[in-house]
């Protein structure tokens, strides 16, 4: 399961992998992001982001 993360500008900047709370950037070269994309492709949806302080 994943959860979107917003940055200080309240823009979604990365996605949190809830299993280990790792922050995954939206970078096609990042292999964790590639796994996330495959997870999305299966029809899954991440949890929405909280508003950053």
């Amino acid at each position: 399961m994943y959860k979107l993360i917003k940055n200080s500008n309240n823009e979604v900047s990365c996605v949190c992998r809830l299993a280990d709370m790792a922050c995954i950037p939206f970078d096609p070269a990042n292999t964790d992001y590639q796994v996330y994309l495959a997870w999305l492709a299966k029809g899954n949806t991440p949890l929405p982001a909280d508003t950053q302080p």
Partner: protein, 372 residues
């Protein structure tokens, strides 16, 4: 013109032809007993003395493409750096896991082997202080589609000059030290990023529990698509630890398919408690295996940090504020960031800088991973 030299058969220590000086000529001569020289334009250019030392008078220009610079394209080939596990054993899963830096393990069925820096505490081969040890956890009979391997994926920036996928593809030589409780024929493979070009290879281990050095020369692939100078995968090198027939191919030839080992190779996971130790892994340009490129610890660690690094003791002061941290080394890609306790938020991370927010003042340790 016909040149006739009259003489008798000679030995290395008693040449039939002796004497002569450089004089004003160009050619070979024998300046003293057990010495041989060559002159050009009346000056000695090269001397081979009685102890087989060679002295050159001019500048040496040699075709030694793999001697200088980044000779070994593998990082941490001597298994020295182990940032993530610090020498602890890990159990193989169905995800690729990092063992020592840059080296990863995988298995299609979980828990069939463990991996650890210096497992079994045997003496490494001369000149090395570390090795990576694989230990089989059971006697597992592999199915056709089973895959168990040790691998390192070389970044495109570090392999592009090999020009694979072009008519100018360079020959490379893989060399390594290996020791196993098993004997026989073992296998591995070179694979491209798209996993549709493979070169399975074999090597034999003749004596159990003895370090043996192996070298395998691979003619560069002139076909297929190979990642060039990018931060993608330039080459995937696999050491098979048990690979089923579906992913095993004919050794010594390029194939347009995904093969991770050679047909008939020994399965390490097929024997309970079997060991497979490896170190000194080198991949270099050319058709000859040269001495291992033992880089300084700082250099090797710096190379590893591009893929994985830890930032310890991060404290935001005052609390409830933002902090940007420039990494020790720029990373291969925007990293996955892990760690940080309560009140610590990871905002974003680029190749160079991470941005964090902390509401409670406490030291945090985070890790950055840009591994393949």
């Amino acid at each position: 013109m016909t040149v006739i030299i009259n003489g008798t058969d000679s030995s290395a220590t008693t040449p039939a032809l002796t004497g002569g000086t450089a004089g004003t000529s160009t050619g070979p001569y024998f300046p003293a007993t057990n010495q041989w020289a060559v002159s050009t334009n009346g000056t000695q250019a090269m001397l081979v003395d009685a102890s087989q030392n060679v002295t050159l008078s001019g500048t040496l220009y040699a075709n030694l493409p793999n001697t200088f610079g980044f000779k070994n394209r593998f990082i941490n080939g001597a298994m020295v750096i182990d940032q993530k596990n610090a020498g602890a054993a890990i159990t193989q899963t169905t995800s690729r896991l990092s063992v020592v830096d840059r080296w990863q393990i995988y298995g299609s069925i979980a828990s069939k082997f463990t991996a650890q820096q210096n497992a079994g505490a045997v003496t490494p081969p001369a000149g090395f202080n570390n090795y990576l040890g694989i230990t089989s956890s059971s006697a597992y009979s592999i199915a056709a589609t089973d895959i168990f391997y040790l691998t390192q994926w070389i970044e495109g920036f570090n392999f592009a000059d090999m020009s694979w996928g072009t008519a100018n593809a360079q020959t490379v030589t893989l060399s390594f030290w290996v020791r196993s409780s098993l004997t026989g024929t073992f296998g591995g493979s070179c694979v491209n990023s798209a996993e549709n070009r493979s070169y399975p290879f074999t090597y034999s281990i003749a004596v159990a529990n003895t370090w043996e050095k192996k070298s395998i020369t691979i003619a560069g692939d002139t076909s297929g698509t190979w990642i060039g100078a990018t931060n993608g995968v330039g080459l995937k090198l696999f050491f098979g630890l048990g690979v089923g027939t579906t992913y095993s191919g004919t050794a010594g030839a390029w194939a347009g398919a995904l093969y991770l080992s050679a047909t008939g190779a020994t399965s390490v996971v097929g024997t309970n408690a079997a060991t497979f130790y490896i170190t000194g892994v080198q991949l270099e340009k050319g058709s000859m295996a040269t001495l291992f490129d033992y880089r300084s610890y700082g250099t090797e660690l710096g190379l590893c940090l591009r893929y994985y690094q830890t930032l310890p003791g991060i404290v935001v002061n005052p609390a409830a504020s933002w902090l940007s941290i420039t990494y020790v080394t720029p990373m291969r890609a925007n990293p996955t960031v892990s760690g940080g306790g309560g009140g610590f938020t990871i905002d974003s991370a680029s190749v160079y800088v991470g941005n964090f927010y902390q509401t409670t003042r406490a030291a945090q340790t985070i890790t950055l991973s840009a591994e393949f």
